[in-house]
């Protein structure tokens, strides 16, 4: 049953869902894969922190500094527990993009350091001409462009795992793509455009079999399903806070203890050092090594409130709810003439981001018709332009749901698509 979550009660926790838009239409928010809305408890947690305990963390000899440090490190522990991880293996970043750049820069920085400071370098992170980095053809630009840059700086070659016509990874020649030259394998857990859930464990095991570091973009999985991050089998896993009911301005990079300890710093400056002299510095142990400058304390507190909220709902129930809604959306879209799903059209190993093309109507125009009725969807290439090209579409329209959506939201979107078809005569 879709109603395993009490959506009517949940919606009361999200003030923005009371908004009326484009005249007097109730907001129908189907763009949670871009960013989720925030429940009152998250907003209250941030406000409460600023009103009671705001101070610099990890410094200062006063009570507020102690409380702020406790709030920040307490948030780290809660968020770690939510994904089955140890607190010290969690690095707070600005967003998931920064986390993935942190991973890619561990390679390009190690490759630059090796000539002049080889004692600081773990050879697993050194890229040279002849080495390869492997991604997939369904990566968000955030897990593609940083690796393109790392390859450009080091002379390594970027390879990718292609896709089948039904939007899944083509694993037929996996052993050829990931081979003895491969130093990093970076893959998305759940595609933000296609909705595909990838067999990351298999890919990470293959990476480790050739001695490569495994990186997972978990932006669309951690918010929507129970994820025990260490058991993904990766070395580094990045995701964002704002897609899982948390504030903007905070993301998480999880790393295995050993791998984090082997990585050079990314951003440098205050907070991340051990000793500093005019000639050189030494660096703090992870996670602080990777958290230069004043951290995003209130955002961490807000994200901890978000994971408490999700834990109270139960991630298994969240996943079940979304699975049912996704099945409903797929069936409703497939019942429409002239609508093609871009991505898996069956509801197994797939998440709630559903992209589609409407014959004869550009996604921008579909989106405009939905917006006219208060239905908020994403149109465009969803920061996965090569994936669009693979399916020969310039862009798609994408519905994406979360805990506050139900079938009536999908129905509204379907009505909007029908109206666009009627108007454009498509």
């Amino acid at each position: 049953m879709v109603e395993s979550l009490d959506v009517a009660r949940i919606r009361k926790d999200f003030p923005i869902l009371e908004r009326r838009v484009r005249g007097d239409h109730p907001l129908v928010y189907l763009d949670s894969a871009a960013t989720s809305q925030k429940p009152t408890v998250v907003l209250d947690a941030e406000r409460h922190f600023y009103e009671t305990s705001n101070a610099g963390v990890h410094r200062g000899a006063h009570q507020l500094a102690e409380e702020a440090t406790d709030a920040y490190e307490g948030a780290r522990a809660e968020i770690a527990s939510f994904v089955g991880a140890q607190p010290d293996d969690l690095v707070f970043t600005k967003n998931a993009t920064e986390g993935l750049n942190l991973a890619a820069y561990a390679f390009s920085n190690s490759s630059a350091l090796v000539a002049h400071a080889p004692e600081r370098v773990d050879p697993r992170f050194v890229l040279r001409p002849g080495d390869s980095v492997v991604v997939t053809q369904m990566e968000h630009h955030a897990n593609l462009v940083p690796w393109q840059e790392a390859c450009a700086k080091t002379g390594a070659t970027l390879r990718w795992i292609g896709l089948t016509d039904d939007g899944r990874l083509d694993l037929a020649d996996l052993d050829r793509v990931i081979d003895s030259t491969t130093k990093a394998v970076a893959v998305v857990h759940q595609s933000n455009l296609l909705g595909t859930v990838n067999p990351v464990r298999l890919l990470m095991d293959r990476a480790h079999a050739v001695g490569a570091i495994g990186v997972v973009d978990a932006c669309q999985s951690v918010p929507h399903m129970p994820v025990d991050v260490p058991s993904l089998g990766a070395d580094l896993v990045a995701w964002s806070g704002h897609k899982m009911l948390g504030p903007t301005g905070i993301g998480v990079l999880w790393g295995s203890t050993d791998v984090l300890a082997s990585m050079p710093p990314f951003l440098t400056g205050g907070s991340m050092i051990e000793t500093v002299q005019m000639e050189h510095s030494t660096y703090a142990a992870p996670p602080k090594r990777f958290e230069a400058g004043t951290p995003m304390t209130a955002q961490a507190v807000g994200l901890a409130a978000a994971v408490r909220y999700l834990s109270d709902l139960g991630m298994h129930r969240v996943a079940e709810h979304e699975h049912a809604l996704t099945g409903y959306a797929l069936a409703a879209l497939q019942a429409l003439r002239g609508v093609r799903i871009i991505g898996p059209d069956t509801n197994h190993d797939r998440g709630s981001a559903v992209s589609f093309a409407v014959d004869g109507i550009h996604p921008h125009d579909v989106g405009q018709f939905l917006d006219d009725r208060g239905v908020a969807v994403r149109v465009g290439h969803h920061c996965a332009w090569p994936t669009c090209r693979r399916f020969d579409v310039p862009a798609t329209t994408r519905l994406s749901t979360y805990v506050y959506n139900d079938e009536s939201d999908i129905d509204q979107a379907i009505d909007g698509i029908l109206a666009a078809q009627a108007f454009f005569g498509a």
Partner: protein, 163 residues
């Protein structure tokens, strides 16, 4: 304002039956512009005709607004001198940036007045401007630049003559 007011019949007509679509056999300048947020693309080519007017060709793929805008633009600027093309572009730019408060001048803009509603949708303004940006860039690459002195074909002269 509702969505039907955005999609004027003129826009739909140009979208479904684009005028002047196609690339030139020989172009002096070409510009390919993309809207990176949605993937709309347009290529505009330009050369100078024997009478001193612009010869314009275009290709593209994208939403109704961007593709109709390219069609309307090609009608408006084909055969006119660079100075007049500049003046029409300036007028269109003013309309797009006017947040719906600018009254379009049909004498200058012709079918492009139908894009007045676009100005109220910030996300779509870039779609409408895409071909005009490409034209400006293609002209610059071809060296087909208006003289600093407005000639008789320019809009400023026409405006002065209007009551």
């Amino acid at each position: 304002m509702n969505v039907e007011a955005l999609y004027q019949d003129i826009i739909l007509d140009h979208y479904k039956h684009p005028r002047g679509r196609g690339l030139l056999a020989e172009a002096s300048g070409e510009s390919h512009q993309v809207n990176p947020t949605c993937g709309d693309e347009v290529t505009v080519q330009v050369s100078l005709g024997p009478e001193g007017g612009l010869v314009v060709g275009f290709e593209g793929q994208g939403c109704s607004i961007s593709q109709a805008s390219a069609s309307v633009m090609s009608e408006l600027v084909s055969g006119v001198p660079a100075a007049r093309a500049d003046a029409i572009r300036a007028e269109f730019l003013e309309l797009m940036r006017g947040k719906g408060a600018v009254e379009p001048d049909e004498d200058v803009l012709g079918d492009a007045v139908a894009f007045a509603g676009v100005a109220k949708y910030p996300a779509r303004i870039k779609c409408a401007l895409l071909p005009w940006t490409a034209l400006q860039d293609a002209q610059a690459r071809a060296g087909i630049i208006a003289d600093t002195q407005p000639d008789e074909g320019s809009i400023s002269t026409q405006k002065e003559g209007r009551s």
